[in-house]
């Protein structure tokens, strides 16, 4: 089915960025509203995609293909399947909401919104691209605006945070580029078409390479490429030990950018593994999954939770909770069971909505108090009841309270993992307890207890802020009560992925 709706979704924000650049730089209102208007069509199209997506077929849908650099078989090739459509939905929704969350920006407004829209286009492109070259280009295009958005509009240590983010990610993408080239040259005929690469997965050699250290590890070509891709993606997830850029970037980034960073960019790591490592390098995936996805994921859960517990900065706490929650995604992916992998992708979606709420909520309090020190508040529930109510919803969703979305995905992941690796499931479940620990403790310190004198007159959350939070809250509850709204999209594609890997699993 040929369709150009995805192309519109990618390029409308790009065109919007150009339009914003041409607006007079002093008319802040105009710039803000034009930017908001630009993110509406992708959101509508995403809803249309959701309604028209055929959940019974395995293949890519809404594909569009055109030759771009024919000499090297480079194409413009976009399409979505079950794995990507949920991410496209998430991207469209968060971009729309984050424009409103950015209305408070008053430094170089034009540049901010233009870069934001460029970032939006890049993110859409990454999730839709089915040509490896195109994928890489969008991947890098997305990195740049992010770097500027943190580096120019960030907090006091923004330069350090931005450069750290940039260098980490760039290191990962360089490894990825080498891996892409390696795959390209081992595909016949040479092509960057991902679907061809997936079809030729069995041609990528798994023969152990004859030199150290690969002969010891019994790594073949496939394993080396897998590893290069994995490091590139692990930096984005971020998986231990590549996670150290994340707290810095989050603490310095403006609120909306934190939301995008945690809500969408982190997902690209796990999305990339599912899109590329799984179908293209199945043997290596089967060999590596236990340690590098399962065990590392479990470690991420516990390590992230422990780090979160030790934080005094509210935003840093939420950042580390992301590290912890992304661990569930890795853990679920490694199980190769229906529940596990569906839970993992659902967790990607849920983490996107829940963390977005958390960062928005931190932003609300930061805008009022101009600090985020957990110990510096107290008893906010009495002064800001609405705010506290929404926060409670987000916190409970994050810790996996039944009836809210986080619960479904975490339970699915743990159920799936339990069938394969009970040990890891127990570690993962420990993480749930730790999560409850640090979140409840935070609620207690910030919202309960005697009201801090300084914040007796702090204004309640306003309409614009509520507007950004309510859709997310509604989704959190909806998915918690009726998870099929998302799971139906995923199941067919993910089962297919599982079937690719399972024959290669070491017995």
């Amino acid at each position: 089915m040929e369709h150009n709706v995805l192309t519109y979704m990618i390029f409308i924000p790009l065109a919007g960025a150009v339009v914003v650049l041409l607006l007079p730089s002093q008319s802040y209102h105009l710039i803000r509203w034009v930017s908001a208007a630009v993110t509406v069509p992708p959101l509508l199209m995403a809803s249309w995609l959701y309604a028209n997506f055929d959940t019974t077929t395995v293949g890519f849908q809404f594909v569009q293909k055109a030759a771009w650099i024919p000499a090297y078989n480079i194409q413009y090739f976009v399409g979505v399947d079950g794995v990507s459509i949920s991410m496209v939905l998430l991207t469209a929704l968060l971009s729309f909401l984050c424009i409103f969350a950015s209305f408070g920006i008053d430094k170089a407004v034009k540049g901010y919104f233009a870069l934001f829209l460029l970032l939006d286009a890049g993110m859409m492109g990454v999730f839709c691209a089915l040509d490896f070259f195109l994928f890489y280009i969008f991947w890098e295009v997305m990195l740049l605006p992010m770097y500027f958005l943190i580096g120019i509009w960030g907090g006091p240590r923004r330069e350090y945070a931005a450069i750290k983010f940039f260098l980490y990610t760039l290191f990962g993408s360089v490894l990825m580029l080498l891996a892409i080239l390696a795959l390209y040259f081992n595909t016949n005929p040479h092509t960057f078409d991902m679907t061809v690469m997936m079809a030729q997965a069995k041609n990528y050699s798994t023969q152990s390479l004859p030199f150290w250290p690969f002969n010891e590890l019994r790594w073949g070509f496939q394993h080396v490429v897998w590893m290069a891709m994995f490091i590139g993606f692990a930096i984005k997830i971020p998986a231990f030990p590549f996670h150290t850029w994340l707290p810095d970037a989050h603490v310095e980034a403006p609120t909306a950018i934190s939301v995008i960073l945690a809500g969408v960019l982190l997902k690209m790591g796990t999305y990339g593994i599912l899109r590329i490592n799984y179908p293209m390098l199945p043997v290596a995936t089967a060999d590596m999954a236990y340690w590098l996805l399962g065990a590392l994921g479990a470690w991420n859960i516990i390590y992230g939770a422990l780090c979160a517990m030790a934080q005094t900065d509210l935003k840093k706490l939420v950042a580390y909770s992301s590290v912890s929650h992304m661990g569930y995604v890795m853990l679920g992916m490694a199980s190769f069971t229906t529940q596990g992998i569906n839970g993992a992708v659902l967790q990607m979606f849920n983490h996107g909505t829940i963390t977005a709420m958390l960062f928005l909520l931190v932003g609300v309090i930061y805008d009022r108090a101009h600090h985020r020190n957990i110990e510096g508040f107290g008893g906010l529930a009495a002064v800001m009841p609405v705010y506290t109510g929404i926060t409670a919803l987000a916190f409970f969703a994050s810790m996996g309270l039944p009836g809210l979305s986080g619960f479904i995905s975490e339970v699915l992941v743990l159920l799936g993992v339990w069938q394969k690796y009970p040990g890891l499931a127990i570690l993962g479940a420990t993480g749930v307890i730790l999560t409850a620990g640090y979140l409840l403790w935070t609620v207690q310190r910030v919202y309960l207890g005697p009201t801090n004198e300084k914040y007796k007159t702090i204004p309640e959350i306003d309409g614009r802020e509520i507007f950004t939070l309510v859709p997310l809250g509604a989704i959190v509850i909806l998915v918690g009560v009726y998870p099929s709204v998302v799971l139906d999209l995923l199941r067919t594609s993910l089962d297919n992925l599982n079937q690719i890997i399972i024959p290669h699993l070491p017995s």
């Binding site: 170089a108 540049g111 740049l144 330069e159 760039l170």
Partner: protein, 479 residues
Amino acid sequence: MDASLIPLLPGAQVLLTALVVMLLDLFIDEHERGLLAWISLLGLALCGAEAILLWGSSEGTFGDTLLLDNFALFFTQIFIAVAALTVLSSMRYVRETGIHEGEFYSLILFATTGMIVMAAANDLMVFFLGLETMSVAVYVLTGMWRSSARSSEAAMKYFLMGAFATGFLLYGIALIYGATGSTNLNQISAYLLEPQGQWPPYLFVGGLLLLVGFGFKVGAVPFHFWIPDVYEGAPTPVTGFMAVAVKAAAFAAWARILMHELSPLDSDWALPLRVLAIATMTIGNLLAISQPSVKRMLAYSSIAHAGYLLIGIVAGEEWGSTSLLFYLATYAPATFGAFAVITLLTEQDKPKEDYGHFAGLGFKRPFVAMAMSLFMLSLAGFPPLAGFTGKFHIFRSAIIAGHTDLAIIGVLNSLLSVIYYLRVIVMMYMNEGGVKGKSFIESPYLYTAVGLAAAATIYLGVLPMRTLEWSRSAFSSLF
């Protein structure tokens, strides 16, 4: 001797313009000298049109010592584009710095003539002639800012080093002539292809001396020591001209002489070339990191880029050479544009070229800063800009030719280069202070040059197909 003069046309056109400019300079008033720039541009435009019309021809003249083929035309286009941009960006600059206009423009045109001859030369002597025409003009251009001590020092240094390199080249040519009995590339190539027992050992010595001479001209490590001082001291538009056009001319001659006609010797200099490429990339990048001045940093970065280009030469064959030509085309706008932005920062006769002078530029001159960011990102090899497509093809050709290690070293090197390119962007957008608003050279022509370079940087990155096709047909015209 055949009488066709058509192959001379592009070179002669530029030469004629140069002479007109030089003579006219004597007769027109001080305040009318701006006209000379327009005459130069007109001449260059005519030459560009001729080069486009002649595209696809393959004709030799003067006993095949000069060969007008797509290869020569491809480079002619690059030289002309860069020369035109140089003229555009110097219009105001030469006034501010008190450089004599007529001489300046005619020297640029003379140098361009030399380059065109170099790219078309099919004979070692004619190549040498072109090289000297270009070099002498550029020595003078380097020292044209007479009130600046740095400029004079740079000219002296460049002259001495250049003369030294010329000695190597000439000696190499002599030895090759001695061994093969000819300076004509076709005849040398025919001699090398003849099956015979042994080549005289001094043939290799000759080849090696040629290699050293080229190494000097493109600024490959360890023959790079003159580059930073000369690039820093020269008037900034001239630096841009040198970093792009002079380097491209040297690579054009290198590609024609070493890669094609002398290709039977390939196996003998594969190793020295590999070492040269690795050293040039790595040392260029490492030294660029620690530079306090952006102009100096760009000088070292141009060394590093010579290293990437050397990968193309090592890879050889169709892909290597095509990507070499294409890389030069992608490297040109970004490097030239960066130097043009530094030109823009000049305040009367005081250069503002330290990192600190870029602070806050992003808010004072948003479009200039945006263009500079594009140039820096393109040089760092960031998609979807020109530099990325160029690097992509270079590394790809290295892998095809079986030099995967070179490709990996190249990729790691471009990662290293991000450190210093990014610092410029950090300065422009994330720091306050720097140059005050009024101290820019406000010239619409300079802005045009920057804008054109930025447009080319994007165009070559997003739609590289046509230029790639040109590079390929330019390369295949060598056969």
